[in-house]
Each structure stands twice: as structure tokens, then as C-alpha cells.
């Protein structure tokens, strides 16, 4: 598990072409824009996705959120890993 996690933390996520995070000023909510649909990003997803810029690794994103929310690192790690994997499955994020 540790080895897999370390390797994965070096992954750099980025939005696939045709998908992005967008703040909707009218509804005051974050949305993931994707082909044929826009879906609501919940508070956790929005925090994570705002840090996705194609340069930060998952590990750096986890570090930043750990600091911002003064939360245990493994709790944040779990959130970040499961959400990015889910969005990669939906072809929203690419993990390189």
C-alpha cells in the first residue's frame, strides 16, 4: 500500500480537453463542465479541483489541503485519491 501510494502521489492530474471546473456566479456553486453535461462539484471536490493545474502532483495537492484545513494527512489523502480516481474513470481528469 505505501509503495503504491507513494508512486501515485507523484501523479500529476490535469483536466482532459473539453472538461474544466467552473464557478457559476448565478447559482453560487462549482460545476465540472464536460461534454453534454455540467455536474455539480461538492465542497470537497471543488477544493481539490481548484488546485488541479497540470503542474501540481497529487502529493502537493494533499499537502496544501492538509495545511489549509489543519486535517490529518491520511484523511485528506483518501479524499483526494478517491475523487481523482473517480473523475479519471469519468474521463474528466487525466493522471500522468
Amino acid at each position: 500500500m505505501t509503495i503504491a501510494t507513494i508512486r501515485e502521489e507523484t501523479c500529476v492530474p490535469r483536466f482532459a480537453r473539453g472538461t474544466r471546473l467552473q464557478y457559476d456566479r448565478v447559482r453560487e456553486q462549482w460545476f465540472v463542465q464536460a461534454p453534454e453535461r455540467a455536474f455539480l462539484a461538492d465542497a470537497v471536490a471543488a477544493e481539490i479541483l481548484q488546485l488541479v493545474n497540470g503542474k501540481r502532483s497529487l502529493g502537493q495537492i494533499i499537502d496544501q489541503l492538509t495545511e489549509k484545513f489543519s486535517a490529518p494527512r491520511d484523511v485528506i489523502t483518501q479524499d483526494v485519491m478517491s475523487m481523482t480516481q473517480d473523475l479519471a474513470d469519468k474521463q474528466v481528469l487525466l493522471l500522468a
Partner: protein
């Protein structure tokens, strides 16, 4: 029409911008109205730009440029660029037959987010017969190649009916070969041209089952690589679909001449006044026009919908289908097994001829 103090309707999510009804193809199931808008009545570029401004300001998130063939409009890339600058997600719905390397480059550089490319069949000869355009298939294949080469995400769209249903497996293979990210296998909806051609299009139950199996098998094979959107045919369903996600709830449709509609077939409903973008703002039309409030929510519903547990799932189905089959736009969609007019659906299936009749192609002045 809005009651003072009544809660405002939530803003729509999407705008379907039908830029033109002109199209080199003539699909017999086309979702355009039987009476097509002529070129002379089309909105000009400046008006579409203003409409996009209003759409973004009211909270619309996605704009689908459609038609007819939207690439027949020389200002398409300018409209895309403007929509992108407003933060709108831009999708192009095209037949691909007018797409060239240069026009695609122009669209791509304008910031277009996604393309949905339609095919009439996986088989070239059949596809060209169904779409009524010789040479179309080679152009579509080339369009797909150029789109994927550019890196734009591509969705292939296939409309399914009795004359191409057996080739759904080949369609799914084609999507895979061409590098599509999504594929829509959408059974025909029966209003407008589709209703006119219903006997030539409506599949039987066995054909439907085979398409479902083909889609299930491909889903297993594709995994997360390619998403498949499968649209079932209403006629064999137990309950209707939530047409447009509910009347006046999620979608706005603007016709080439600027009529603002809750769905693309709404013009078939008689006795209504259709607001236009040249007379009023999108926001005022969405919130206050009698048209958008007519079937919004559940207050208008007759029984059995009114006391049904599903009324906020399917919103009573499609108003245009209710009109076409039950004779009244406010009736329960006859597709529903509980609808008083459900026997119209059973009759249509029973009366389906063994051999499909000739198509009545979608052309200017080709409707009764």
C-alpha cells in the same frame, strides 16, 4: 403570468442554439419542425451575440450549436469565440459533411470544447440512403479523423430505427476505430418528421432487445475508455422520459428565426404565442412568458399524473407527444401505461407494416 411573490424559476442549464435549418442531408427522423425556417428569416450575427450575452448572464452553462447544419453559417467560429469568452461551454452538433481542415482549425482555435458528430449508419451505402446524401459517409469519416487528430473530444451520434438497428454492433466498433470518447445510440423519437415516417422507422421488440444487448456487451468491452449513452424508444417503455428534464426547467431552445422554445418541437402545439429574442430578453421569456409557465412544474397536470409518485421524475412526459397522439398537449403522455390514451401506442405498434414504406425525406416543402 408569474404570480407576484412566487419563487423565481431556477435558471436553465443549457441553450440549444439552432443557427439554421439548412442542411445538405435530409434524414427522415430529423428533429427540426415540419415547416423549416427559410434562410431569409435567420437571426443575424449581432443578434446571436447578444443572445449569448443574455444566456451567460442568466446562468446558462452550456451552449449547443445545432441546426440543421450549423456549419452552413459562416459566422459559426465567431459565435463560438464569443460564447467561450463569456465562460460558456461550447458544443457543436454537426453532420460533418461541411467540415474541412481549415474550418475545424478555425473552430478549434476559437476555443470550441466538444463536437458531436452524427452518422446515419455504419454502412456507407445504407447511411447515404437514410440521410439522402450521396458521398456523405466519406466526408463524415474524414471529419472524425480531423477532429481526433486535433485532439477535440468527439462524441459519435447514431439515431436508431428498424432500418439500421441490426448494425448497432458495427456502429460501436466504428466509434472505437475512430477514437471517439463517447457514443450515443439513440432510438428515434416520434414527433415531427419521425412521426411522419413512423412506419418506416419504428423497430419491433426483438430489434430493440438486440440493440440493448449490443450496448451492454460494448459497455463491458469498453470499460472506462468510451462512454455509451443509450436512449431507449419511448414506445416500448413503461413510463415516458422526463422530456427536456421538465418543461421550462433545464433547457432553452432558440430557432433559426429567434423563437424561444421549451423544446424543439413546441411549435407543433397550436394556439400558443412563441416569444422571440427580438421582442424580449431571454430572462423575461424564461421567467414570465405564458409559454414557459404553461407546463412548468406539476400544477398543470391532469390525473393520473397529479396523484402519481413519479410526477417529479418524468414530469408527465412529452407535451408534443401528448398532442400528437392524444390530441391534447396537456394530456398524460400516451407512452405511460397509465395514460388514458395509451392504446394509441399499442395500435401504432400493432399496425406497423411488415415491410417499411418509402421515407418521406426532410426537405423544405416536403411535409403535408
Amino acid at each position: 403570468m408569474t404570480v407576484p411573490g412566487a419563487p423565481k424559476a431556477l435558471p436553465p442549464m443549457s441553450l440549444l442554439a439552432e443557427l439554421t435549418h439548412r442542411c445538405p442531408l435530409q434524414c427522415p427522423y430529423c428533429s427540426n419542425p415540419l415547416r423549416l425556417d427559410p434562410r431569409a428569416g435567420e437571426l443575424d450575427t449581432a443578434t446571436w451575440m447578444r443572445v449569448l450575452d443574455e444566456a451567460a448572464a442568466m446562468g446558462i452553462l452550456q451552449v449547443h450549436f445545432s441546426g440543421g447544419e450549423p456549419m452552413a453559417r459562416p459566422d459559426l467560429a465567431d459565435l463560438v469565440r464569443h460564447a467561450v469568452s463569456l465562460g460558456l461551454y461550447t458544443n457543436l452538433i454537426t453532420s460533418g459533411v461541411l467540415l474541412t481542415r481549415d474550418s475545424l482549425k478555425n473552430l478549434s482555435e476559437s476555443g470550441l470544447d466538444h463536437i458531436q458528430l452524427s452518422f446515419q449508419d455504419a454502412d456507407a451505402q445504407e447511411g447515404e440512403r437514410i440521410g439522402g446524401m450521396a458521398g456523405a459517409q466519406a466526408k463524415k469519416l474524414e471529419a472524425a479523423r480531423l477532429i481526433v487528430e486535433d485532439g477535440l473530444p468527439l462524441t459519435l451520434n447514431f439515431v436508431i430505427h428498424r432500418q439500421n438497428a441490426e448494425r448497432v454492433p458495427a456502429m460501436l466498433e466504428l466509434a472505437e476505430q475512430l477514437g471517439a470518447r463517447r457514443v450515443e445510440i439513440a432510438h428515434t423519437q416520434y414527433y415531427g418528421w419521425g412521426l411522419l415516417n413512423r412506419d418506416a422507422l419504428l423497430p419491433d421488440r426483438a430489434q430493440l432487445d438486440a440493440t440493448e444487448q449490443a450496448v451492454a456487451a460494448a459497455r463491458t468491452r469498453f470499460g472506462n475508455r468510451i462512454a455509451i449513452d443509450f436512449v431507449t424508444p419511448d414506445y416500448y417503455a413503461e413510463r415516458p422520459k422526463p422530456c427536456m428534464g421538465g418543461w421550462g426547467q433545464r433547457f432553452l431552445n432558440i430557432s433559426p428565426s429567434g423563437k424561444v422554445l421549451p423544446c424543439h418541437a413546441a411549435e407543433t402545439i397550436p394556439g400558443l404565442t412563441f416569444p422571440t429574442v427580438t421582442e424580449d430578453s431571454l430572462e423575461a421569456i424564461w421567467q414570465d412568458s405564458p409559454l414557459f409557465n404553461l407546463f412548468r412544474g406539476t400544477g398543470w397536470m391532469p390525473e393520473p399524473c397529479q396523484s402519481c409518485a413519479f410526477k417529479e421524475d418524468d414530469w408527465g412526459g412529452c407535451r408534443c407527444q401528448a398532442l400528437a397522439l392524444a390530441g391534447q398537449a396537456s394530456a398524460t403522455d400516451p407512452v405511460c401505461h397509465r395514460a388514458p390514451a395509451h392504446q394509441r401506442i399499442e395500435q401504432a405498434i400493432a399496425a406497423r407494416p411488415a415491410t417499411p414504406p418509402e421515407f418521406r425525406y426532410r426537405r423544405y416543402n416536403n411535409a403535408p
